[in-house]
Structures are given as structure tokens and as C-alpha cells.
């Protein structure tokens, strides 16, 4: 395994499509199948040339794909909020795209707004082919129901900005503008994200330099907010190994301008696998050595009947990073069809900063 197992995090999340729609049995079968041959789906091979705006859009020949935005926001009084916007696509079958209801794509959206006291979220599902959900490369628009992420012309193809991000659910809503000066970051080898163990890989690029401004609404109160945001774009056909029970993933916006992504994969045998990327202020993404990363749970929260480690000590020896991460709201639980914890965090220590933490696979309390 190498650092590019970042795919696993979102890959598992994309599996939500089957978790949500198919139930646990389908998940087991689905992932047993997904772990093996991706028969009929397009293969991920090195040396792909990324073309924008084409690659903003969907790649339906690949099995799974997602558009994933998280933002750490503050209002004028300095009160902190977090925002999540996610669109997943999964193909039920390979082959040419079929028309109308016969279309084999299934879409899922997750959206959330978090404050220190409140966490509101929603999910929605759609089938492709009829227009309820989809992604158009140019002029860029990704949508499911009334949730959308769309270009605000003129769009810079290099920075994938500016964008407008909207979603609303029961008790929450947001309408944000995402701006970025720096270009997109291609992860791995020019966007080819390898998984060394089984030769699995994904195409993966990010925009960690977004600045979000706009309004959020939480329980009927609307406030103006701004702050850093992070976009992940990834697609693949072979996402996940069968022996993983869950993961702990975090992204950090450090005050010095560096961006960090780290995760710990928990394996069925009790072992952990660490990986991560350090994106320097020069915009270069460098994979971190597995043995250089340490992630230690410090405190747990019981939420939705599960015991989830919401306080962490995080260290990357090679970069001199040693911080304690604390959640803005320890109860940022996404009680969606496939439940997981996802919410904004604050870090203090060798570096200060904010970020997002995502944890899956924690079952019963204790």
C-alpha cells in the first residue's frame, strides 16, 4: 500500500451507494466483487493526460466517482461552522450509457452544516438518465435535486473557480461562492493514484486552496461566513479491499498555508495502515512515508450508539508536525443510510489550523 490509498476513503464512501440502496448484504457482495475484477469498466492506467474542462464532468465508463467539498467557515463574530457537500456516482453495470430510466448510473448526495452546538445533515438519491442528477463538464454544473455546484462564469479551467455551491435540507442550508487563485493539484503521479498492493488505482485531483464566502442557514438563522474549503475529485473502477473495517481521515488547512491530508485504515486483523499527502505552499503534493505518520485517539464520544474517537494526536515526524485535533462538534454524526462521522476540527500544537475529520466503520459502543 502507499499513500494513494486515499482513494479508499472516498471509495468506501462511494460504496454508500450500495450501502444505502443495497443494504449490508449487497455491500458485502458488492465489495467482494469490487475487490476483484472490474470487468467491463474502464481501467485506470498511468500516463493519462488530464483535460479541463472535460475532466470536471462525469466519467461514466468508470464504476465510481465523486465530487466532494468541505469548508471551515467563520462568521463576522468569529463563530466557527463546517459545511459538507458531496455528490457520488456509481454505475450499476458497464457498457454504453443507456437512455432514460434504463440508464445504469445511480447518484447520491450528502450535505451538512455543523456548528459547535448543532449538526444538520441530509441525503438524497437519484437515478441517471432523466435529469434528476448529473454533471455537465462545460459550462460546469453538478447537481442532485436542488443541490448544485456550478461554474460562475468566467470559470478558470486551471483553478476550477469560481464556483457556486448550494444545498438545503431540514434545518439547514447554504449558498457559497468558492474562489481560488492557485491551480488544481494532481495527486499521485500526475493524477494517477496507485495502490501498490493489488495494482489498483484511481484518477485523483484536488483543489485545497478554495476560499468560500457566502451565507449559511442553521435552524432558521442565516449568517454571512467565509473560510478555507477543499475539493476532491476522484474516479475509479476498483476502489476498495475487502479486509478493511473502516478509516479515520483528516484534511488540514495549516496557518502557514500548507495543506495536509492523512488517514489511518483499520484492517480486520487489528493492524493499521497510515498514509497521507503534504501539499506545500508551492502547490506540489508529496506522498508521506507510512512510518512517518502517527494518529492516536485521545478522547471518545458516544454518538448514535457508537463510541467514536473524536480527539486525536496527529504527528508527521518528517515534517515536524505534532498537533492535537479537537472537533468543533463531537456529535457531527451523519446518520445517513450508511452512517459515519464527518465534521470540522481545530488543531493546535507545532502548527495551528483547521480541517475536516471523517471516520467510518465504528459500530457499537464499547
Amino acid at each position: 500500500m502507499n499513500a494513494d490509498r486515499a482513494l479508499s476513503r472516498r471509495g468506501f464512501a462511494a460504496g454508500l451507494l450500495w450501502l444505502g440502496l443495497g443494504g449490508a448484504r449487497a455491500l458485502a457482495q458488492g465489495f467482494a466483487g469490487l475487490g476483484g475484477e472490474a470487468a467491463g469498466f474502464a481501467a485506470v492506467t498511468p500516463g493519462r493526460k488530464f483535460m479541463f474542462p472535460d475532466d470536471f464532468g462525469a466519467h461514466p465508463d468508470f464504476r465510481i466517482e465523486w465530487w466532494y467539498v468541505t469548508a471551515n467557515l467563520r462568521d463576522a463574530d468569529g463563530v466557527a461552522y463546517g459545511v459538507q457537500w458531496t455528490l457520488f456516482r456509481q454505475a450499476m453495470a458497464p457498457g454504453p450509457q443507456r437512455e432514460g430510466w434504463d440508464n445504469q448510473q445511480v447518484w447520491m448526495g450528502h450535505a451538512a452544516v455543523t456548528s459547535a452546538a448543532t449538526h444538520r445533515f441530509a441525503e438524497t438519491f437519484a437515478r441517471g438518465g432523466v435529469g434528476q442528477a448529473g454533471v455537465i463538464a462545460a459550462p460546469f454544473e453538478a447537481w442532485i435535486d436542488a443541490w448544485r455546484m456550478a461554474a460562475l462564469p468566467p470559470l478558470s479551467n486551471a483553478a476550477f473557480a469560481p464556483l457556486r455551491l448550494q444545498a438545503a435540507g431540514e434545518g439547514f442550508g447554504y449558498d457559497l461562492r468558492l474562489d481560488a487563485e492557485r491551480p488544481l493539484v494532481l495527486q499521485g503521479e500526475g493524477g494517477y493514484s496507485r495502490k501498490s498492493e493489488r495494482g489498483q488505482a484511481s484518477y485523483y485531483y484536488s483543489q485545497p486552496y478554495f476560499t468560500a464566502t457566502g451565507h449559511i442557514t442553521l435552524d432558521g438563522r442565516t449568517v454571512a461566513v467565509s473560510g478555507p474549503a477543499w475539493l476532491d475529485r476522484e474516479w475509479s473502477s476498483q476502489p476498495l479491499a475487502a479486509d478493511q473495517t473502516g478509516w479515520d481521515w483528516l484534511s488540514l488547512h495549516l496557518d502557514g498555508g500548507d495543506k495536509v491530508m492523512l488517514f489511518r485504515l483499520r484492517q480486520a486483523d487489528g493492524g493499521h495502515y497510515f498514509a497521507g499527502n503534504w501539499i506545500g505552499s508551492d502547490g506540489r503534493s508529496v506522498a508521506l512515508a507510512s512510518n512517518a505518520i502517527a494518529m492516536t485517539p485521545l478522547g471518545f464520544t458516544e454518538v448514535a450508539g457508537r463510541r467514536v474517537p473524536t480527539q486525536w494526536r496527529v504527528a508527521v515526524a518528517s515534517r515536524g508536525l505534532a498537533v492535537d485535533a479537537a472537533p468543533l462538534n463531537p456529535r457531527s454524526f451523519m446518520a445517513t443510510s450508511f452512517p459515519y462521522w464527518e465534521g470540522p476540527i481545530v488543531v493546535h500544537g507545532s502548527h495551528d489550523g483547521v480541517g475536516y475529520l471523517e471516520m467510518t466503520g465504528y459500530r457499537d459502543a464499547g
Binding site: 450499476m92 432514460g100 430510466w101 434504463d102 437519484a126 437515478r127 432523466v130 434528476q132 438545503a168
Partner: protein
């Protein structure tokens, strides 16, 4: 504890000596529990299947959006609303023919289907992939598969052109329904990109926030019903059954009451002896209650089994009526919930305790050493009669009050219940009055004694006589109502089914071919095109039927009232007739204006009878209907054919177009079928009616048995002064027959009153139509005869016993003065 067991053993020994009494008690309990729980089982079964039908993708439980002007609309409206944040899910519905059977095909979109529309049981989430991905699945109830003679995995053909996805049994589905993915439904029904309705999931938004027009379609919000269409339509039917069940239960309790009264009477000395032996009153009471509850449990259990048998026997009739009347499909087998068993047992035990209440209280107060009390019955009886009379008056006033102020089906039944109760309570008063009157005319000691003794017997007999009165009155009432309906219905059928042959083509193309074929023939007198579509007015479904401009209709259509130029206006297109049901529901009458759809309003120029149709109906000119609803299939028509050509035309049509019995029928067949449905509807009523009368007869018998024992002290002196036992028996028989006759006579006017209530109040509320009230004297005489026969049968045995009684027994009365 030991002592209690001993006391119990002593008490139980009574039943060993009087097995018949035990049998009577058990029969009462069993009859009460069986009829009540049988009816409950039927109702429960029916409701369960309505829920299944309703749970089907927002039958009526979910708010939905429809296009009032068209049967279907573009799915672009679905996408537009989703993208505006509305949690809607599309449904396309139509009918398909599989193996000659017409089935409801429902296309759903499982991914957006709101979970609260109870889709869960219908499309299991585990099966979603198989359901959506080609070839997909056709979900159907196991009954439907059985009906079609197909097994899981089969891919039935429909209309020679399309094939359905593999069948998969789904126990939660209603029979007669096929569920497929919406994409499959659009293909199979030939409606690409079209939906019938959008289900609205849980949302805080309301109808007011809906845009005026969505994707070029003006949608209307249909608020969810708390009840399903079927539940509402069939409510009256089930209320009918429940009312009968309750009546039978009460009559059964009369038996229990008299059996327990008898046992108490006979065990009085035993109880006194037990008390004298040192058994405390409390222990005695507890043991008696335990004994009663045990017997009630046994009776209740047997009653439940009998109830199950009754329900199973009646189910085919009930199912047929519900299907014929309301199109509601019931599965052919009973499935009972545990609650049903518990409720049945509880009813039995509580009923037994209630029926035994009076005896228990009397026993609890039993003085240890009561002297033989010279009967001060006269004064006591006068008080009792006064109380009964006062209660009856109160009930009567209540009945009149509800009749005036009530305006619902329940109120209708309340009137009936109050009326029956008032009559039952007034019965002893009336009988007492009648007997008193007769006594005045009596000459001689024996006749005077005869009448006086009859009066004295009243309190003991009154419960049984009340049961007889109620059973008879309800029989008269229901009988009169059914006969009135039957006569009216037959006349109405003649009017409505005026054409000689009815044809329903498979599609418009075939309809055109058939009409061309008909036009070329010389043996057809007229072709009467008809068309039918359905809209919703005020949230409820309303049929619009197109009527051809032909003398057949003008001469026969069963108009209740209309303007003189009604038919001419109808065919001009700006006027309509409405069915009686719709006229009552919407408070429409001749001269009013009715908006049918967006741009089409009509004057109401007539009201017609439309019996048996649970939906409201509007009749318009067939041309106007096709003009305003162009997509209405033009596939139905009636033919006028001279009788001698009838068979030939039928055969030729069947031959030329391969029409089956569903598509081609002659008038006689349709009429026979309608009458058959009608008769089955009332078969259940008739069966319950007979049961009730039978139970009333048993009640009378047990009462007389009770009396014959306790009245020996009164008869013994007469025997002692020289009246023969035979003579005494004849007098006893005479007395019972006289009071039974007076009761039956009283039951007749009461029954007619019940019939009037059923016709003028209950029917109108339940079905929306009012029948002409007719009296059938022969039927009344017949019932009177049956009642007297029942009374005679019930009296014979006690009287026979008296006639054959050993003189020693009579002598012992004097020795054993209690």
C-alpha cells in the same frame, strides 16, 4: 386454598347433575363469541387487504400531484420539481391483460420513493438492484401468481407485443397488482416519458408553494386521506357486519344470562348450606367468579374456533361482495392475528361476567338464613316496569335527537341502536299493559289466574322476549330493505342495461376495425358509442361516462329528476346528468353548475340512480367527452340488435375479433352477473340474520327452562286443587305463545321502522342512494310464522316436562318450601 377447591368441587357438582344446563351456558357463550369474533375476523381480513392496497405507493396515504386535465403528464415535471427541492417520486399506472385477466400495473421509481409511502415491504432494499437493472422484476402477490397459473421467474406476455420482467412473489402486495420499475411501465404501457402522478414525501412545504405550472403542466395537489378510498367506500359494509356481530353477541349473552340465572336459582340452597358450614361470603364469591371465568374461557375458546369456521365459510361471499361492489380484492384465505384471539377471549369472559352480574350481586348479598319470602312481587314489579318505561322513553328521545341532529353513518346506526334499545326496554311495559287489558276481560278464576300469572312471569321472560323482539325486528327491517333494494335494483338494471350487446375492444385500433365491420352488417340496428374516464373532484374519484345520442338512452336511462330539455342539452355538450351519490356528496341538484375540468363547466340538468357504484358519476354526451378528454379510449360500445339476430352477431363478433367474455357480453349475461353480485352481497346479511334468529330462539328456550324450575311452587297448588298436569301444561304453552305472539306483533312495526331507518338514513349515508320504501306483507307474515314456530319449539320441551312431571315432584314442593 384447600377449602376453596372443596367449595369449587361442590359448586361444579351441580353441572354434573344438570349437564343440559351446562350445555346451554356453553352454547350461549360459544354463540356469542363465535358470531362476534367471526365478524371481527372478516373485518380484520378485509381491512388488512385494504391497507395492503393502500400502502401501494401512495394509494391515498400520501399527498400527491396529478394533472386534473389528463391521465398522464410529462416526467419533466418530476425532474423540475426535484430540482426545485420537492421530494416527489413518479408513478405510472395502467392496466394490462395477462392471460385474459386485467391487472393493475404500477410503475414506481424505488430510489426516490418516499419511505413513508410504505414502499418498504413492496420493494425490499436488498432487491433494488435486481428490480431496477435489466431485465428487472415484476412484483406480484402470491395469490396473483396463483390466479395467473404462473410461477416465480416467468415472464408473462401482455397484448401479444410486450413481455413483463420475471415475476417475483411479494406477500405484502395486494392481489391483482403488478409492480415494475417506472421505466418498464413506460415501455409496456406505451407511454415513454409519462407519469400518472407524483407522490410527495415528507416536506414542510405546502400546496400553496407549488408553482402555477411545472414543465408546462398545471398540477394539482391532492392532500392525503386519513383513510384509504377503499376503507372509506367499504366502511358501511363493515359497519353493517359489525352491527350484526354485536347484535348476535348480545343475544348470545341473553342465553348466558338466563342459564346463569337458572343455575343460581337451583344452587341457592347449596350456597346457603355452604355458608352455614362456615364458608365465608368472600370465599364463596371468589370461587363462583373463578368457576364462571373458567367456563367462559372454555366457551370462548370453542367460540373462537367456531368463529373462525364461520368467517372462513362467509369469506367467499364477503370477498365476492367486496369485489363486486367496490373492486376490493380480498385474499381467499383467513390470516388471523394474535390480537384477534385475545380480544375474542376477553369478550367472552367480560360478556359472561356482565351477563352474570345480576346473579352475582344477588348472591353476594345472600342472607345466611333467609326465610321463605312471601312474594311482594307486585310492588316490586310495578317499580321495575316504571324504571324500564322511563329508560325506554329516554332512549326514544335520544333516537329522535340523533335522527334530527346527526348527519353521519354512525349517527344512523346510533338511531337504530337507540330505537331498538328503547323498544326492548318498553317491551315489558307494553306486554304488561296488554296482559292487564286481557285480564280485565277475563271471566272466572282460572282465566284471571292465567293472565295474572302471565304478568308475574314477565320479569323472568322479559330478557328472552327482548332478544326475540330485537332479532325479529332486525329481521323484518333488513328483509324489507333487501327486498326493496332488490326490486328497485332489478328495475334500474333494466333501464341502465338497455343495449343488447356490450363490446369493449382491446385498443382504439381494434375498436375502429370492429366499428367498420359492424357498419357493413345489416343485422345491427344501432351502434351506441360509449366512453369512460375518471377525474378527481374534491379529492375523490369521479367517473365521467359518455352517452350516445340515441332513443335507447332517452327511453330507458333511470333519471330521478331532470329538466324537460335535459337530453337535448346533454348532447349539446354544455350540460350533464349527475348520479344520485355525487349529487348528495357535492350538494348538486338540477340547475346547479359543475366544473368538470380546467375549461369545462356544465349545467346539471338531471340526476339519475346509479346503484352499486361506490364512485360518483357524471353522464355527458359522448362527443363532448372525447372533445374535452381526447385521450379517452373509444373502445366501448353497445349494440342494438333484434332478438333473433343476437346469437348470430355475438358468434360472428367473437369469431372475427377473438373477443373473450370480458370484452363481449350480451345484456342477459351482464344482468345475471349483476344480480349474482347483488345476491352475494346480501347472502352474508341473510346468514347473520338467520343466526341471530336462531340464537334468539335458544335464548327463549333457556329462559323458559329457568322459569319452569322456579315456577313449580306456583303451579303445585293449582295441581293440588285438581288441575291436571296436562291442563297445566296446556296453560303454560298458551301463556308463552300469547306473550311471544304479542312480542312478534310488536316486532313488526318496529321492524318496519328499522327498515325505514336503514333505507332513509343508513343507506343514504353509507352508499349515497335512497330507495323507494316498500312493504312486503307476505314477507312479514312469513317472519311472524317463523317467530311463532321458534317460540313453539322453545316452549315444547319445558311444557312436555311439566306434563310428564312425577306427582311426587309436585308434592315435594310443599315439603321443600324454601
Amino acid at each position: 386454598m384447600r377449602r376453596a377447591l372443596w367449595v369449587l368441587a361442590v359448586l361444579l357438582s351441580h353441572w354434573r347433575r344438570h349437564p343440559l344446563q351446562l350445555a346451554t351456558l356453553l352454547v350461549g357463550l360459544i354463540a356469542a363469541t363465535a358470531l362476534w369474533s367471526g365478524v371481527q375476523a372478516l373485518n380484520q381480513q378485509a381491512r388488512l387487504s385494504y391497507d395492503r392496497a393502500a400502502a401501494l405507493f401512495g394509494g391515498a396515504r400520501t399527498a400527491m400531484l396529478i394533472d386534473p386535465a389528463h391521465a398522464t403528464f410529462t416526467q419533466a415535471a418530476f425532474v423540475a420539481l426535484r430540482r426545485a427541492g420537492w421530494p416527489v417520486s413518479p408513478v405510472l399506472e395502467g392496466r394490462v391483460e395477462v392471460g385474459g385477466r386485467s391487472l393493475r400495473l404500477i410503475g414506481v421509481e424505488p430510489v426516490t420513493l418516499p419511505p413513508e409511502t410504505a414502499a418498504g415491504p413492496a420493494v425490499g432494499r436488498d432487491d433494488l438492484h435486481a428490480f431496477v437493472a435489466p431485465p428487472g422484476r415484476t412484483l406480484a402477490a402470491p395469490e396473483t401468481l396463483r390466479d395467473l397459473g404462473l410461477t416465480a421467474g416467468a415472464t408473462p406476455r401482455i397484448d401479444q407485443s410486450a413481455e413483463l420482467p420475471p415475476l417475483q412473489p411479494q406477500p405484502h402486495l395486494a392481489p391483482g397488482v403488478l409492480v415494475v420499475d417506472i421505466g418498464v411501465a413506460q415501455r409496456v404501457l406505451g407511454k415513454p416519458g409519462q407519469v400518472s402522478r407524483l407522490l410527495v414525501g415528507n416536506t414542510t412545504r405546502s400546496a400553496r408553494e407549488l408553482p402555477e405550472s411545472v414543465a408546462g403542466t398545471r398540477l394539482r395537489w391532492v392532500a392525503p386521506d386519513s383513510e384509504t378510498d377503499l376503507a372509506r367506500l367499504t366502511d358501511s359494509f363493515h359497519l353493517n357486519l359489525t352491527a350484526f356481530g354485536l347484535l348476535s353477541f348480545l343475544v348470545g349473552l341473553f342465553i348466558v344470562n338466563s342459564a346463569i340465572g337458572l343455575a343460581f336459582e337451583q344452587r341457592r340452597s347449596t350456597l346457603r348450606t355452604l355458608r352455614a358450614c362456615g364458608v365465608s361470603a368472600r370465599l364463596l364469591n371468589v370461587v363462583v367468579v373463578i368457576e364462571l371465568v373458567s367456563i367462559a374461557l372454555v366457551g370462548g375458546l370453542v367460540g373462537l374456533v367456531c368463529g373462525y369456521v364461520i368467517a372462513a365459510a362467509l369469506l367467499p361471499d364477503v370477498a365476492a361482495s367486496l369485489r363486486g361492489l367496490y373492486g376490493a380484492r380480498l385474499p381467499g384465505t383467513l390470516s388471523l392475528r394474535p390480537q384477534w384471539w385475545f380480544a375474542g377471549i376477553a369478550m367472552s369472559v367480560l360478556g359472561a361476567l356482565a351477563a352474570a352480574g345480576a346473579s352475582l350481586i344477588r348472591m353476594a348479598r345472600l342472607p345466611l338464613l333467609a326465610a321463605a319470602q312471601p312474594d311482594a312481587w307486585r310492588r316490586a314489579q310495578r317499580r321495575w316496569l316504571l324504571r324500564q318505561g322511563a329508560l325506554a322513553a329516554v332512549m326514544l328521545i335520544a333516537a329522535v335527537g340523533v335522527l334530527i341532529f346527526g348527519d353521519s353513518l354512525l349517527a344512523g346506526f346510533a338511531v337504530l341502536a337507540a330505537l331498538l334499545l328503547a323498544a326492548a326496554l318498553a317491551l315489558p311495559v307494553a306486554l304488561d299493559g296488554a296482559l292487564q287489558l286481557a285480564a280485565r276481560g277475563a271471566r272466572g278464576a282460572l282465566p284471571a289466574w292465567f293472565w295474572a300469572d302471565s304478568r308475574q312471569q314477565l320479569p323472568g321472560l322479559s330478557l328472552a322476549l327482548m332478544a326475540l323482539l330485537l332479532a325479529l325486528a332486525v329481521n323484518v327491517g333488513v328483509g324489507t330493505m333487501v327486498r326493496s333494494f332488490s326490486v328497485t335494483f332489478a328495475r334500474w338494471l333494466d333501464g341502465r342495461l338497455a343495449a343488447d350487446i356490450y363490446v369493449s375492444a382491446a385498443n382504439d385500433t381494434q375498436a375502429i376495425e370492429i366499428r367498420r365491420w359492424l357498419a357493413a352488417r345489416t343485422d345491427i340496428d344501432a351502434v351506441l358509442p360509449g366512453a369512460r374516464t375518471e377525474i378527481r373532484i374534491g379529492g375523490a374519484p369521479v367517473e365521467i361516462t359518455g352517452v350516445a345520442d340515441h332513443a335507447t338512452y332517452r327511453d330507458n336511462w333511470p333519471l330521478l329528476r331532470a329538466t324537460a330539455d335535459g337530453w337535448d342539452r346533454l348532447h349539446q355538450g354544455d350540460a350533464a346528468f349527475v348520479s344520485e351519490q355525487l349529487s348528495r356528496r357535492l350538494h348538486l341538484d338540477v340547475g346547479d353548475r359543475l366544473r368538470i375540468s380546467g375549461g369545462w363547466s356544465v349545467d346539471v340538468v338531471g340526476v339519475y340512480a346509479d346503484y352499486g357504484n361506490p364512485k360518483g358519476q357524471i353522464a355527458v354526451g359522448v362527443d363532448a367527452l372525447s372533445r374535452h378528454f381526447p385521450e379517452t379510449p373509444q373502445t366501448r360500445f353497445g349494440l342494438r340488435v333484434a332478438p333473433e339476430h343476437l346469437a348470430g352477431v355475438m358468434a360472428a363478433l367473437r369469431e372475427a375479433f377473438h373477443l373473450d367474455a370480458r370484452q363481449l357480453a350480451d345484456q342477459a349475461t351482464v344482468k345475471a352477473e349483476s344480480k349474482r353480485i347483488f345476491n352475494r352481497t346480501f347472502a352474508v346479511t341473510a346468514a347473520l340474520n338467520t343466526f341471530t334468529l336462531g340464537v334468539a330462539g335458544v335464548a327463549l328456550l333457556t329462559s323458559l327452562l329457568t322459569l319452569s324450575g322456579s315456577r313449580l311452587p306456583q303451579l303445585a297448588p293449582l295441581w293440588a286443587i285438581g288441575l291436571t298436569r296436562r291442563r297445566l301444561a296446556a296453560i303454560e304453552l298458551m301463556k308463552t305463545m300469547v306473550v311471544a305472539f304479542v312480542t312478534a306483533l310488536l316486532a313488526l312495526p318496529l321492524g318496519l321502522l328499522v327498515a325505514w331507518c336503514l333505507i332513509a338514513v343508513v343507506n343514504v349515508k353509507a352508499f349515497g342512494w335512497r330507495l323507494p320504501f316498500q312493504v312486503f306483507p307476505a314477507q312479514l307474515l312469513e317472519l311472524l310464522g317463523i317467530a311463532m314456530l321458534a317460540a313453539l319449539l322453545a316452549t315444547l320441551w319445558p311444557v312436555f316436562k311439566l306434563a310428564r312431571m312425577q306427582p311426587a315432584t309436585l308434592i315435594r314442593i310443599f315439603a321443600n318450601e324454601r
